[in-house]
């Protein structure tokens, strides 16, 4: 019998100025085998930072091109606050250039995911970034 421990679903923050993309990410995550808890949303980096003062999340998905505070400044600010040491940040962008992905990863982001992407790619990235966790269809994050 498998060692079943208390399961805590992952809380997630999606940072994107596009309602369509926030909605798509939300639905794509629901299609994966990951146990998802609360999904928080922010329309830019500034909103996200304000939200993170009150809630804790296990993974952050962030766009790059956003008004008010873009993804580059947001990731830089997360690094300055030492938040990425404990919370993986997956940057999602339509810019698939190696120049851009190297820039973002150098800032400290955990992963760079290029649009278009599938739910399987999302699941693969989260699983890769949280190897110490057990991610199962009917299980969760322990």
């Amino acid at each position: 019998m498998p060692n079943v421990e208390a399961v805590i679903p992952m809380d997630i923050l999606i940072v994107d100025d596009s309602r369509a993309m926030r909605n798509f990410l939300r639905k794509s995550l629901a299609m994966t085998g990951l146990a998802i808890g609360t999904i928080h949303e922010a329309a830019n980096g500034e909103e996200a930072l304000a939200l993170l003062e009150h809630v804790g999340v296990q993974v952050i998905f962030s766009d790059i091109n956003m008004p008010v505070m873009d993804g580059v400044v947001f990731v830089t600010e997360l690094a300055r606050r030492d938040m990425m040491r404990t919370t993986p940040v997956i940057v999602v962008s339509s810019d698939s250039s190696t120049e851009r992905s190297q820039q973002i990863l150098a800032l400290g982001a955990s992963s760079y995911l290029t649009k278009p992407f599938s739910p399987e790619m999302l699941e693969s990235e989260v699983s890769r970034l949280l190897p110490e966790t057990v991610l199962e269809k009917d299980g969760g994050w322990r």
């Binding site: 798509f24 339509s94 698939s96 250039s97 290029t114 649009k115």
Partner: protein, 159 residues
């Protein structure tokens, strides 16, 4: 056009690759290529534009028949019916993804800045004579991706 970096694919081919990748991966739709002669958009077609800067300067435009946009929107949101607001949001996101995917195929090593997309009249987008275009048929009608771009020197920026 001053082309300082050689791309292994033409921009026309890059548009085709972008349409195929984006539609198949995120909309679960298999596009069928349509020749220029067979491209006749409906009167209710929607359109969207964005500018690009950085390694490539110019613009991208998307024109899509009304029923096709509605069908794509339903596939994207996983809903049977969608609002006009959702359709407006989606055509902007679609334009962004198609432009990004096309530039990624055309110049994979160079970063380009994309502006926020904005809605436009289909006639305005289709009226540009010098643009390169690829059109595909999807459920509900036609989708055209157009662009007029110029490859700049490294270090330039601004959109």
């Amino acid at each position: 056009m001053s082309k300082l970096v050689t791309s292994p694919v033409t921009i026309s081919d890059a548009l085709g690759v972008a349409l195929e990748r984006v539609l198949e991966t995120m909309f679960f739709t298999e596009p069928i290529p349509v020749t220029a002669e067979g491209r006749h958009h409906t009167d209710d077609a929607h359109a969207c534009l964005l500018r690009c800067g950085g390694a490539v300067r110019g613009s991208f435009g998307v024109v899509i028949d009304g029923p096709a946009l509605e069908a794509l929107c339903c596939a994207f949101y996983g809903e049977d019916a969608v609002s006009l607001e959702q359709q407006d949001d989606l055509i902007g996101e679609l334009t962004n993804m198609l432009a990004g995917a096309a530039l990624g195929s055309y110049l994979p090593s160079r970063s380009c800045a994309l502006s926020s997309p904005w809605l436009a009249a289909a006639e305005q987008v289709l009226a540009e004579p010098d643009e390169i275009e690829r059109t595909v048929e999807i459920e509900g009608g036609l989708l055209s991706l157009r662009c007029a771009i110029e490859v700049g020197s490294a270090g330039t920026n601004g959109i």
